[in-house]
Homo-oligomer: 333 residues x 2
């Protein structure tokens, strides 16, 4: 295992210390329990938006805390769910009287712990809504999941919900937005190489010299097929076909096309794949009105990519275009 | 070789097609000869800022074309200098009557071709200034270089010069700024793994299972030492010591600290290394007033990092904070 780490048990802690030191204008990091909140706090009467999950997917979720996206994130150990006490402390920190939305990726540990945190938050008098994200079309159930896994759609939903909170929408309205987006977003990923969890010290899975995994999960959990290496265009077709055929909306619709790097994929290759994905989306009758290309939901040093398509409309496009300023995603107009 | 590509000879072209399709609001890509310019053009009477070099270091340089940074970039084939005709065409495209600054990383091919382009530009009546960037303290001469190599400092100088052009500074003033920054910036990098050039089809160099290369170049060219794997803190010390001892400025100065991922390094590891680099900078008496953490000048899928320290002052900090909106680096305030 070659990694830029010290003691494998301290990776998350030491990384968060560096993260906090790098971005004091945007985030505050608390330890015991561990959570990240926006530095400027949530204004009175505004909804708080929170997410969390295992570490190792950076910039998601910590890197999306700031202005115009998440108000809080709860990082677990690498590929391990955060605990309910982390979630409760973060929920309390970003409750400004209008309630807190929990965005939960569909993995068994996350779901269980967020359910407990929701109850604990309600017990403290905080209005908590929880929305499950399960956009991965690759498999129906998987190693850590009953039902579809939550993957790339999470990044997009976090952006839109953060913008909606900034715009003063209510907790119910933002929860409805998250659910509606989750109903209309689909993703699928693939891997060229494995990732290595620091505490495990060896690759999560083995792929042959010319083998790739189609439908990979973001923790290296198995996908649909293990096949010989193909051209980028063929691989993109293999990801786009299941996404397009599963879309619950019709030709002529506007979409956001997101080509995500798994961690070790050169930017050059992501744009090369975006080119093909765009051609296929257009051939399917979709209009790509917005896009995102880059490593935003990663699996440590895995090489590979995922593709996500989200239906857009006027409201979602306006929320997408709203200013965002976080360590991992930011723009201004 | 496992890569997300089609024909190795078409990687740069197909990637640029995807890049152009993804960012029509920010860039225009021309082919024959190949160059990238900002979509909204250079306003009359404003200096144009141009850079270029081999592809494979994305987001540098193409990803830094837009508003508030580069006006044009000339991408060569992977790790291969662009040609003078590319540079001339791009220079002509961004000349708005106030001249064009060429920011040139110190590699023999780039230097030679940019010199020719400068002459050709002057022959066309365009006022061209060229500034050489050579911030890498690892080696005095190297495979592709007489003198020190140009690395991470390039990203920072491109940002500052782009902001200065936006602020209406003259060609001489911006060239002076670039030279002054180059005099006060130092970098050094290391690799855990090699990169693979698509047309070569095999890793550029071999590292043993527990071996790392200290002082690596951004094309995989040899550095100072090949040593057994160490802890992240020890590795960061090995990079920071030569940088700090070479700084031509004194304790008490303000600096920007840039921790750069080489391509395959998890963001989590970059922040973990930032933590240690910050501690060492502060112990050396420097005040880190700004920072940048992430993969900005990469070497395809190489795992590793580089560290860059640039002296800051009031003017540079204001230019750093100025809005920037490019595919690879953007923020707004």
């Amino acid at each position: 295992m070659k990694k830029l780490i010290n003691d494998p048990d301290h990776v998350v802690r030491e990384s968060l210390e560096g993260f906090a030191a790098a971005h004091p204008d945007l985030v505050r990091v608390s330890f015991d329990p561990t959570y990240v909140v926006r530095a400027d706090g949530v204004p009175d009467g505004r909804v708080g938006v929170l997410s969390g999950g295992g570490s190792g997917h950076e910039p998601m979720h910590n890197g999306f805390v700031g202005r115009g996206m998440l108000d809080a994130a709860c990082p677990g150990e690498v590929f391990t769910s955060p605990t309910p006490d982390q979630m409760l402390a973060a929920t309390q920190a970003v409750d400004a009287g209008a309630g807190v939305l929990h965005l939960v990726k569909n993995y068994t540990g996350d779901v269980m712990n967020f359910e407990m945190a929701e109850e604990m938050g309600e017990g403290e008098g905080i209005d908590v809504r929880s929305v499950l994200i399960d956009d991965d079309v690759a498999v129906e159930d998987s190693t850590y999941t009953a039902g579809r896994r939550g993957v790339g759609g999470t990044v997009l939903i976090e952006k839109l919900c953060g913008a909606a909170a900034d715009a003063g929408h209510t907790l119910d309205e933002i929860a409805d937005l998250a659910r509606a987006c989750n109903d209309e977003v689909r993703s699928m990923g693939m891997a060229l190489t494995s990732c290595t969890v620091p505490s495990a010290g060896e690759p999560t899975f083995d792929l042959g010299e010319n083998e790739i995994e189609i439908g990979i999960g973001i923790h290296g959990e198995p996908g649909r097929d293990r096949i010989p290496l193909e051209s980028a265009d063929e691989i993109v077709e293999r990801l786009m076909e299941p996404i397009l055929s599963d879309l619950p909306f019709k030709e002529g619709d506007d979409v956001l096309l997101f080509v995500n790097g798994m961690g070790a994929t050169p930017i050059m290759e992501l744009y090369l794949c975006y080119r093909k994905a765009l051609q296929l989306a257009e051939a399917h009758g979709l209009t790509v009105v917005r896009n995102l290309v880059g490593p935003y939901i990663t699996s440590l040093e895995m090489a590979g990519l995922s593709i996500t398509i989200l239906r857009m409309n006027e409201r979602r496009t306006a929320l997408w275009d709203a200013p965002v300023h976080t360590p991992g995603l930011r723009w201004g107009r």
